[in-house]
Symmetry: C2
C-alpha cells in the first residue's frame, strides 16, 4: 500500500520537506491514500525518503496545517480529509520544465544547503566570510542615518555609473593604495559579486577560457560556468600565482582573462609579493591577457599593510579592479565598484542599467558619507584589531586541537584559515556530521574539487566561545572519521 517510489531530490531547489509534502498530497489527491489511511511512522518515512526525521516532521506539520492529516496521541497519523485539497486539485501548472530549462545553473547542492542552514539562528557559522553583526559599525551607520534624516537626499534613479559623489570618494580612496583614476572610470555595483556578473555578461564570449588560482573561491560560484566559460586553475606558490605555470597554460590555450585575488586570497589567505605583482602585470601585458583583480579583503590586514594592488602597476589599462565594503564594513549595504578603462566601464554600466537600473540610492549615499566623513578609515583601524583578536583565538584553538591532525599557515589578514588535514577524509561526511552538531563549515572541496583534504575555517562570524567550541568539536569529528 505504501508504495513510495521516489526520494526527494537534493538538486531540486525546493526544500526536502516541501517535496515530501507535495508527494503525499499527490497520493491523497489521486486517492491512492484514501481518507482514514494510517501513515507509516515518521521514523519509517524518514528511512524510506532518505532524510532526517525532522524533515518528515516539518512535512507533517505542513500537511496538518492544511487539514489533510491529523496525529492522534500515540495512535499515529491519519489522512483525515481530502475534499479541501480535491477542490483545489485541478492539475496545477507544472513549472519543473521551466525551472530546469533556464540557462542559468543552480548553485551546487552543497552551497544551497549552506545558504539554507545559514538562516538557522542556532547554527555556528564557521564557513562564512560575512562579518558578524558585532563587527559591523551599526552606531556609525545610525549616526549617518540621523544626518540623512535632516537632508534632502536623492531618491530617483540616479546616474548611469552610480552616484558621482561616491565615485569621487572612491577615487580618493583608491589613491591611498596607489591607483590613480577618474570618476568616469568607476562603476558602482551592488556588491563585488555583481561586478563579476557584469564582466561575465559583458566581456566574454561563450567558450572563453578564464584562468584563476587553484584553489579559488570562484569554483564555489557558478557565474562563469553558467555563461558557458571554461575555467583553468593555475597553482599558487608562497608568493602567489605561479608565473611559470601561467605561461605554460597560456601557450596551450589562448586565455581570455585572468581572475585573481592577489591580497588575502580566498581560500588560502595568500598575499602575492610585490615582486610577483610586478612580474605578473608585465607578463600579462606581453601576453595581452587582461586581469580581473578582486580586492575585497584588502583593508582587513593585521600587522603590515599589503603591497599595492596590481592595478597600481598597470600602465596599459589591462586590469579591471573590483573593490567593495561588504567584507570590511557592511554586506547589507551592497556597495561594490569596478575601476577600469572608460570604454569598459561604459559597456558594463550599460549592462547594469539593463539588469537592475542601478544600485540603491540610500546605500550609495551612506557609503559616500562614510568616506567623506573619514569614518570609513577610522572604522578600518578598529576592524583590524577586532578581527586580529578573532584570528588569535582561532589559532590558539587550532594549536590546542588540530596540531596532530592538520597543518595551516598563519593568516596575516582577512577571515579564514586554510586547514590542511594530514590525511584525506570524506569532506561531505564531515560537513553533514558537523551540521548535525549545528556547526556549519565550508569543505575545501568547494574551492578545489574533490580534494577531500581542506577545510576553510572562518573566524568572522561566530562568537569567540563558539569558535573555540566549534574547533574542538570539529577535531573530534575528524578524529572519529580517521579511525
Amino acid at each position: 500500500m505504501f508504495n513510495i517510489d521516489c526520494k526527494p531530490d537534493r538538486n531540486n531547489p525546493l526544500q526536502l520537506h516541501v517535496q515530501i509534502a507535495e508527494y503525499i498530497k499527490g497520493k491523497i489527491a489521486r486517492n491512492e491514500w484514501p481518507e482514514g489511511t494510517k501513515l507509516p511512522s515518521q521514523r519509517t518515512l524518514a528511512q524510506i525518503f532518505g532524510v532526517n526525521r525532522s524533515t518528515v516532521v516539518t512535512a507533517f506539520e505542513e500537511l496538518t496545517a492544511e487539514g489533510l492529516i491529523k496525529g492522534n496521541m500515540g495512535g499515529g497519523t491519519r489522512i483525515i480529509n481530502n475534499t479541501c485539497l480535491l477542490l483545489s486539485a485541478k492539475p496545477q501548472f507544472n513549472w519543473s520544465s521551466h525551472i530546469t530549462s533556464g540557462t542559468y545553473q543552480s548553485s551546487q547542492t552543497i552551497m544551497q544547503q549552506i545558504n539554507q542552514s545559514e538562516s538557522d539562528p542556532d547554527i555556528i557559522r564557521m564557513g562564512t566570510c560575512e562579518p558578524s553583526p558585532e563587527l559591523i559599525p551599526s552606531s556609525m551607520i545610525q549616526g549617518i542615518l540621523n544626518k540623512m534624516s535632516k537632508r534632502t537626499i536623492p531618491l530617483g534613479y540616479g546616474e548611469l555609473r552610480g552616484s558621482i559623489h561616491l565615485r569621487k570618494e572612491i577615487c580618493q580612496y583608491l589613491k591611498t593604495i596607489g591607483i590613480i583614476t577618474e570618476p568616469s572610470c568607476i562603476l558602482i555595483t551592488s556588491g563585488a559579486l555583481q561586478a563579476l556578473q557584469l564582466i561575465s555578461h559583458g566581456l566574454l564570449y561563450k567558450g572563453s577560457m578564464v584562468y584563476l588560482e587553484k584553489p579559488s573561491y570562484l569554483y564555489s560560484l557558478r557565474i562563469f560556468q553558467s555563461s558557458g566559460f571554461r575555467l583553468s586553475g593555475i597553482p599558487l606558490d608562497e608568493e602567489g600565482i605561479s608565473i611559470k605555470e601561467l605561461l605554460t597554460c597560456q601557450k596551450q590555450n589562448k586565455g581570455s582573462m585572468l581572475f585573481l585575488i592577489p591580497t588575502f586570497h580566498n581560500p588560502t589567505g595568500n598575499v602575492m609579493s610585490l615582486e610577483r605583482r610586478k612580474q605578473l602585470v608585465k607578463l600579462c601585458e606581453a601576453e595581452h591577457l587582461p586581469i580581473i583583480e578582486d580586492d575585497v579583503y584588502r583593508e582587513l590586514w593585521f600587522d603590515n599593510q599589503p603591497p599595492n594592488p596590481l592595478k597600481a602597476f598597470d600602465k596599459n589599462e589591462l586590469v579591471l579592479y573590483i573593490g567593495g565594503i561588504s567584507k570590511n564594513l557592511s554586506p547589507g549595504l551592497r556597495i561594490g565598484w569596478i575601476a577600469g578603462p572608460e570604454q569598459v566601464i561604459a559597456r558594463l554600466a550599460d549592462i547594469k542599467i539593463q539588469m537592475d537600473d542601478g544600485s540603491s540610492a540610500i546605500s550609495q549615499y551612506i557609503a559616500s558619507e562614510l568616506f567623506t566623513s573619514g569614518l570609513y578609515y577610522e572604522h578600518n583601524i578598529e576592524m583590524r584589531k577586532n578581527v586580529k583578536m578573532r584570528r588569535d583565538v582561532t589559532l590558539a584553538a587550532l594549536n590546542k586541537y588540530f596540531t596532530d591532525i592538520a597543518t595551516w599557515s598563519i593568516p596575516v589578514g582577512s577571515y579564514y584559515v586554510w586547514l590542511k588535514l594530514n590525511t584525506s577524509i570524506s569532506m561531505y561526511k564531515l560537513f553533514i556530521k558537523a551540521l548535525k552538531k549545528k556547526i556549519l563549515i565550508h569543505p575545501g572541496d568547494l574551492y578545489e574539487f574533490r580534494s577531500n583534504r581542506y577545510i576553510r575555517i572562518s573566524y568572522s562570524y561566530a562568537s569567540l566561545s563558539e569558535i573555540e567550541y566549534a574547533i574542538k568539536t570539529l577535531s573530534e569529528l575528524v578524529a572519529e572519521q580517521l579511525k
Copy 2:
C-alpha cells in the same frame, strides 16, 4: 594629409567625443599629424565625422586639457606637443574585442542617447517614466531614516528571499488587491527590472518564444533578446490583449510564456477589462501558458481603482506577479518583488544570490517601514492626486496644440499619453530636433518597431510649465516636419 577614414560609431558605448579624441590621439601618436600641424576647423571636422559641432568642441577641450593641441585666437588649432602622449603611448590594451564579444547585447543606440541625455540637468524629460523628485515623499522617508537612526537594523547579508518583515508586509498589501500568498512565495528584487532578468535567466531556454503585447515597453529593453529568446507581439484592443490573436499565435508557435502589463499598459495606458482578465487566465490554463504579470503602475489610478491583477484569478499557480515601489514611490530604493509558486521562487532566489547576493538591507528596511506604518497607503492617495493634476495639464496642452495633428486616449492612471500622429513622420528626426531644443522624448518606435507614428508623452518628471512648453514646441517641430 587629413585622411580621416573613419566615423565615430554610434553603437559604441564610448561617447562620440571620446571616440573622436581617441582617433586624433592615435594620429598624433603615430606621428601622422606631427607637431605644428594645423587641424581642420571644428565645423569641417564635424562634417567629416558626421557629428554636431559641439561634439568636436568637447573632443578639442579634452585634447587641450591633455596638452596635445592649442587653439590660437582666430588662427585655428595646432598640435603642440606629443612627447607627453608618446611617453604614455605604449600600445594600451585593446578592450574592443572583449567589449563586442560579450554575450549581452548593448542597449539600442537611441536608448543609450536617452540615458546619457537624462544626466543633463537642463533637459526637459518628456519621455521618462520616473517620478519627479517633487512626487517622491522625501520627508516621509526622512522620518523613517530618523526612526532607523535610533534602532539596531540588520546590516548583514540577510535572508535568501529578502527580509521576512518586508515579505510579510507585501503579503498583506497583496491581499488588498485580491492576491492570497505566503512570504515563502515572495522574492524581493532590486526593482521590477531585476525580476524580469531573473525570470529570463532562470525559467527560459534559448530559442523560447515569449509573447507580449504589441506595442510593448519590453521592445525597448534587450533582456529577452540578450538571452536568445524570440519575441512575438500580440495586438491589443480596447479591453486588452486580443484573445483571438493570442490563440492563433499559440497554434502556430508553442509559446513559453506570456509577458503582460494588464494595468496601465506601457506605452498605451490600456487597462485590461475584468472580463478579459478572467478569459485570459482561463485560456492560459488550458494552453499551459505561464504568465508574467508586470503590475508596477497599479497604484497610480486616478478615479477608479483598476480590476484586480490576473494573479488574483490564478488558481493554478500559472502567474508570476511582479510589483514594486519604483514607479509610485521611489525608484532610488530599488525595491521590487515577484510572487509565484514556491518552487519557482526558490529557483529565482538561488539565481539572485549568485547575481548580487541580495538587495540593500537598508532599502528593504525602509520599504518595510513604509508598509508597517501605513505611510505607503497614505502616500498613494497623495500621489494619485498629484499625478492626476499633471495629466490634466498635459491633456489641456495637447488639446491646445495637437488637436489637428494627432489623436490620443485619456489616461485613467499612470504616467503617459500614447500620442498617435495623423500622418507618419521620421521619429528619429523628431527625437534629434527635440533634443536640440532640450526636450527629451521617447519615440514610439522604441515600443513598436519602425511605426514612425507614435510618441509616448510622459508627464511624470517635467514641471507643469515645462510640460506646457514642451508640448507646444513639439507640436511646432511636428508641424515643421509635416511641411
